[in-house]
Symmetry: D2
Subunit: 412 residues, 4 copies
């Protein structure tokens, strides 16, 4: 292979592209599109450095996969060249179906199609183009490959996706508490009974990883201003689509226009080629160039949301243990209706309740297994009397409410 082989990554230094197939996948326009989709949506309005993209993340996760596979091989786990390439392609493409602003706009532009389904469709498309070379990658991705530990490296509590996004989001936000010792964690991985396990002396690193992850949730992903910006963005898109569907033109790139002008069901999406075509042309720029132009639209709801987003004049967001009582919600809504002189049926664009929840270690999915020195496997939550892991399994649910900060809550 005499193609460009090395990529500079601010976090890992040099990342080597491991094979020609991977290189060719990276060159594909589906993958190049990820250059223009930010990993953490509008988080940069709070943490200005957080401009990193799905493109960087996918390459980073692939780099961690390379390291993990090398460590496991070094411990005597046999991994064939095909399996290696399959696992690398699977992790490289795991986010290929993300649309603009990643999670924020999922189900807003295309109501019925999830990013997982889109990833699956796009991988199949690529597999066709690459003459079946992605068969193994796809079967690892969908956990249909008999050696399940490979899937676990792509998707589980300790997959290389999570490791990379946690490190990367920490690095680019500057929230250094999120930095984890990925090198140590990866060196502690092993395979027992076809499952990824952690050797016992890695237990503190795992706890540190889970604590760091929870901290990132509450300090970054659920930061009030981040929630506010994302809710405003969703509402702006919904309003634009509402206007377009109701005969009021809004400026848009052709790809965005397509999704504003059509309600697309899952069935449509799968049967009509053009939806996917347009989807693969869509990225953050389509959305943001719309938002910027709409700041001057003559629909007051749309222009208010967009102008405030562009000028970073965000709604106030409160986080509460319980949902706001119906009575108080009504009170706010009425004030908003009066203050902004909007129709009652439009108030939901400006007063936005949104529940959030997180569990640092969600044991309903899978469990992190610790490999004791005597060969026993134990759930990490009970493996050590020294750690706090049990308390990390608790699920925390909160309720946010966002509204223009000109108003105040009744009890302010």
């Amino acid at each position: 292979m005499n193609k460009k082989k090395i990529i500079n990554d601010p976090i890992y230094g040099f990342v080597t592209i491991p094979s020609e197939l991977v290189f060719d996948l990276m060159q594909h326009r589906y993958f190049q599109r990820l250059r223009y989709i930010k990993q953490v949506s509008l988080t940069h309005l709070v943490y200005p450095g957080a401009l990193h993209t799905r493109f960087q993340h996918a390459i980073g996760a692939m780099h961690l996969m390379t390291r993990a596979l090398n460590i496991l091989s070094g411990k005597g786990i046999s991994i064939s060249e095909e399996e290696r390439e399959g696992a690398l392609a699977a992790i490289l493409l795991h986010d290929i179906g993300h649309g603009p602003f990643s999670h924020s706009l999922e189900h807003t532009l295309i109501e019925e199609v999830s990013h997982e389904m889109l990833s699956s469709i796009l991988m199949d498309k690529l597999n066709e183009e690459f003459g079946g070379k992605l068969d193994l990658a796809i079967s690892i991705f969908t956990d249909n490959y008999p050696r399940h530990f490979l899937h676990k490296l792509v998707s589980s509590h300790l997959d290389t996706d999570r490791m990379d996004y946690l490190i990367r989001d920490s690095f680019y936000t500057g929230v250094s508490e999120g930095v984890i010792s990925f090198d140590r964690i990866i060196k502690m991985l092993n395979v027992v009974d076809d499952d990824i396990v952690v050797e016992s002396k890695g237990i503190y690193s795992i706890e540190n990883f889970l604590v760091a992850r929870r901290l990132m949730y509450w300090q970054v992903y659920f930061h009030k201003a981040v929630i506010s910006a994302e809710q405003m963005l969703i509402k702006a898109l919904k309003r634009a689509k509402y206007l377009q569907l109701n005969g009021k033109d809004v400026f848009a790139t052709p790809a965005l226009h397509h999704f504003l002008a059509h309600k697309i069901t899952e069935e449509n999406f799968l049967s009509e080629e053009e939806h996917l075509d347009y989807f693969t042309q869509l990225d953050d720029m389509d959305i943001m160039s719309g938002i910027k132009v709409w700041a001057h639209h003559d629909d007051q709801v749309l222009s208010t949301l967009c102008r405030r987003l562009m000028e970073r004049n965000l709604f106030r967001t409160e986080i509460r243990n319980e949902p706001l009582p119906e009575v108080e919600l009504k009170e706010i809504e009425e004030k908003v209706i009066r203050h902004f002189k909007i129709k009652p049926e439009d108030v939901h664009y400006f007063v936005i309740p949104h529940p959030i929840q997180n569990s640092a270690y969600d044991t309903t999915l899978d469990k992190i297994k610790i490999l004791q020195k005597n060969g026993d496997l134990e759930d990490i939550a009970t493996a050590s009397d020294l750690s706090n892991l049990e308390s990390l399994t608790k699920r925390v649910q909160k309720h946010t409410i966002s509204y223009p900060k000109e108003l105040k809550l009744p009890n302010d």
Copy 2:
């Protein structure tokens, strides 16, 4: 001041916003616009991490200014509160006039107006809005303030602008050789005869700084693929403007449309308000959303340039000591005309010569003065027999030529 006071920066950690004026300037939509203008244009096509913006850079340079002023105060240089705020506002706004893709598109969209003139116009605008509070900042920026060392911190070989961009570009590209010891350099600054000087034991740090800067030029700013992408971008914009001016509509946001549809002289720009209005709505997203749509335009020249940019299928770029001989240039042009079946007058869009030059330490501007222990001042180039600084003054000129890589040069 009970406003948000701290910003997380991945490089410096916490950056404190030093005053209410600075905070208010940062909230202004002129400054918020810098969030959407990348510091190093299309460099991210080579170094995927290089997505940092003028917004981050301006804040970073302000942070270094804070540190520099603190160091100088600590050495007994008296700096009043007004001077401090003036210097901070001046550095914060030093790039306020940059348009999309910074230097790359200067003089492409608005042929006759430089970013310095635009900065100057926008600062005056802001000064009006802020009731004259920027008088001192502007006089420091334009070097009309009698204490010239303050201007030197904003613009000179050792200004905080250069220090921040060098550190920041290094950090985000991952080219670690560019990392400089800004902490050490700043601690070595002093003021003599109203000029910024460096104490003698800082001489190696300065040499390191200049060597790092040269390295960044040749490894990053003049990277072949970066030059290629930027030249292709310029040509695409020129083609779009050509088409629009010749009655062939191209998709564009309203702000971009304005500049595609008008040739604007300096005189127009200064006399007609709307040009500035549109300019302050323009950022990288307008350009890139255009490029993406134009990839499907029916003008072959435009669509070829844009599709290749989006798919990162860049022209080949060669760097030579001498310009390509006229004969060889012609030969390439003819091959391109034949291969792409384009008109001879359009070949300049696909075969692009572009000279580059750099001097690590350009002594025609100002000189870096070393403060010897005995109080003497010396030009750094001659201050030490240990260093290589003299050789860093040499100006290097090269000639690049970019063209579709389907072709090869005659002597390949």
Copy 3:
């Protein structure tokens, strides 16, 4: 002050020496002695980088104190120049009474005198020499100064001592999970009711700090090989002293000889000047040069311990939840007696039980108070339903047993 003012620290970069008094204290031979006392004893046998000294730690803690005082001043807490210098001198000298190998050898060489008493004696001595300039520092150190928050910065859950040692031990061992965001923690400190409190948005940083601290305990301070080496060191010193007191000369520097040849009570120590004189000449080198020579001593117990230390042939250490049952202990002891052909009364040199315990957040001392936005103070353990802090208060006790690895436990 025209004395050397800046120190390079690998962690913080440049550390500025804040005053002439501090500079002069650092020049004193009592403080220079700390250059030769390692912060973490024999930990370098496991983590080879852990060679950092009490000298570096004291300067680092002083640096964090400078930052903390600046932050508090910036928040409107008035701190006079005298108080500032007092707090800085107090933290600089907080470990001045440490003997060689810090905690490891406390109560081994001088049975009855603690390092706190020694610090106190040495500060008084210095205060005499400096003509009373340390009065305020001493009263802060002993918590007799009426503004108690200054003492809290010297000694409490969030003192700058702990912050520095945690960062420093992490940095030099390379156990990156211990790295804490000291910058963030310090920026979140405030003073309420004369006590150091943490502003509410610092809660995750504190949890991270406490989790990191616990991790450092179990991964570094209580690492089996570290415990083994330290117990062997203690036993070697005890044996050497036993031999010397019983008329069998062991090689020693004059200072070490003094403490090997005398049993010194607290009363002696306080009444006879020579003990302190010798103590202030004692550092790690005296001990290690003894150990090295004793490896060739003809007393088998002493030479075995010392030779194994020098060749890093350490005892095996086990960590158990319960003390080893008496019966099993006897069995090991008998094996050791037979195998090494030593006298039964000497077996305690080779079979060494040692309890360890740790609490990440020991609430029996003081509590970390969180300052809520409404001004309320709350114990951090209950301040947030998101964190695990409550579980961090639990005290963990373990039991270690070390013995030559030639043997095996009965149940191996």
Copy 4:
């Protein structure tokens, strides 16, 4: 291999011990001795963090060797398992012959035996003990192995020894300008005609490496206070040996005593076993425990030198372009004789001229070859018109003079 396999290094993270032979070599008491020999002698008196040892450096250089060999293998250079282990053992042991305080005391304690000869003797000893397993390592080390590029990785301009010491000394002193991009340099290495070469796009990294190296010389290795301390140390040792040889006992550990009490020629050293025995027991602690005790010796010359070293009251050192003129030297010497009331023949202990010289890129040894894209090899000094490499070949010679700072030079 079920032995301890991973070492934490603060710089590289986890270092894997590559083979059982390497592990066993590291366990040998010859190698463990390097734990107690600091890499940069008394530099810690200026840069307090610089306490790192030859032990850490040897492991670090071995780690870089592992990386370099992996890169070269990846480029198709065939390297057998035996060659790999040979190169790793060779670099691991390259400094095995260093005595206490490394270069500083070479030729002081044992006048006629260099550290290279000692390394060679000790490797042969080890080879015997390991039953010839070091044959290949030794032939690589001595450049008798036919594949010379392996020797170049052990000893040349671009050997892994230099790379590690430069990074490590930078890291531990905190002089960040010395940090080099070892990862990039190693990735650019290749083998042509059995020689190590650098691929052309590594040229700036090499220049950066050479500039950083020169900076480290003048900022660290030739720092005035470092030179002063090392010259004082040498003089103290010479005085102690002079006294001991002239019947005046000085305290010393047995190993140090041996070298103080005997003048040992190369012939003696090679023929009498006991010299080597004692040498392998000698490390920094023997010297420093002597210095500390001698601070109280009744010989005024010895006690003055030692007391000042312990209290960091160093001589003043001047660096000049020319040697101090004979007349001025005499003047200083006379002042010293009068002030300290010492004998004229002892003045050389207190007035110490010492020449220093450095060349960033000494082309009299070997040359750094650049591999151009067309396959040509070129000397780096001429390979690029962009760099300053030619000027880095210049040799700089300076002259230092150290003397008690109570005195002043005539022209002060």
